[in-house]
Point group: C2
Chain length 247, copies 2
């Protein structure tokens, strides 16, 4: 059974200021917790239902942390999921370590992505397309928010995130910086360099002026109909698919 | 000011059974209402704030329906948006009219898309890629749900929807039917026919067995990393981008 203090602690991690204070965050649901316990993240507390424990016993027995058995109702009471019949963990956040694109590597750069679902989707897309690093502007939504973590569907374990001031970040950069704009070069014809950065802009305002000046190659997803724009996660996927195809 | 009966009526349209009973649905927010009043949908009631009215006076004066001026608080009280400083309309639904792919035309087919945000995103993606028709299985979420309509960002006015039994629908079909599966033909190399259907499967279970038997060409979005799957809206966008590019 969860103690009063545990309940209070886990609930507090729904808020960014307590996640920062405790340097911990919540991971919920079967898929995410299974990916978590096979990753290099440090699990702090681990609560599982009896069913989940039995289904994953061999994996759970290898954990440095002993899982506590709780009920589904307890998981739903402390977590953000309306339904969770599996597991919940609190996990140590990682240090905000500097990231750069290496030779032959592409890194995503997010210029003020505000919606947690969009950030989660972008991380999942990055993981699908083999992109292992994402640089975020300081105003981008917190990677460790429960909504972000759950929308990554486990991909948060495989993609490193670094929050920084993008203008300062790009000042030292010598690689290509691709950014999506309306009426620029058709991404279907873009010959991408061996390595570089792909900037995704804010949901409402696109790429900010300061960052736009540092974009070396403006690209456009061609439109064949009448919608005014594409969602940030969708745009990321289409750009990555074009980046990864053989041209 | 909104009357008690109007409030009750609009609130009822949040639920599918009342939308079906009244053959009406809700459209909310500046962008969606502006697209609506320039479309062929029949507006029933139109509520706007004073500011929205002044900004769009010439367009609103052309409407067969006289807009009623209300406050932002009233719009938020009756609608599903937590913030709406612009407009809300109730609109007549369209008949469930049969849809087929014509020569040179592609039609999307949704096999049990359950999440309203996913359906909305798919409609917006279809509209971006010039796809004007979507066939939905009967279990696909209701097109007229407020969450679907708002996630289309106005594209609901340009994409026709038809709900039917997919197996019966495809029995009479002679065109190509493309469906996404794991470990099938790489969509980067697919030479799409002049016309056909693209099936998008359910979020958790993919394409159903009955429909799978009627798919003529199985395709796969190639993966370069480790994520297990892509979201349904993302997969739709990547397939459409591959369909529309010159190969």
């Amino acid at each position: 059974m969860l103690s009063k203090n545990q309940i209070k602690y886990i609930n507090s991690l729904q808020q960014k200021k307590f996640r920062q204070e405790h340097q911990s965050f919540i991971v919920e649901g079967a898929k995410s917790v299974l990916e978590l316990i096979q990753s290099d993240f440090e699990v702090e507390l681990l609560f599982v239902t009896d069913d989940f424990y039995k289904e994953n016993e061999s994996l759970l027995e290898k954990q440095p942390i002993r899982p506590e058995i709780v009920t589904q109702a307890e998981l739903e009471r402390v977590g953000s999921f309306s339904s969770n019949n599996a597991a919940l963990a609190t996990v140590k956040t990682k240090a905000n370590k500097e990231i750069f694109a290496q030779e032959n590597e592409y890194v995503l750069v997010l210029d003020d992505i505000r919606d947690p679902g969009n950030l989660g989707t972008i991380i999942r897309v990055a993981d699908w397309y083999g992109i292992k690093k994402i640089v975020c502007s300081k105003e981008t939504v917190d990677f460790y928010s429960p909504k972000v973590i759950s929308s990554t569907m486990g991909s948060f374990t495989r993609v490193a995130i670094y929050y920084t001031d993008l203008v300062t970040f790009f000042n030292a950069n010598k690689l290509k910086v691709y950014g999506t704009f309306l009426d620029s070069a058709n991404v279907h014809q873009t010959q991408f360099a061996e390595a570089g950065y792909i900037v995704i802009g804010n949901e409402a305002n696109g790429i900010s002026e300061g960052v736009e000046r540092l974009v070396t190659d403006k690209i456009t997803i061609p439109r064949f109909g009448a919608a005014e724009s594409l969602n940030a996660g969708i745009a990321t996927a289409v750009i990555c698919d074009n980046l990864r195809r053989r041209k």
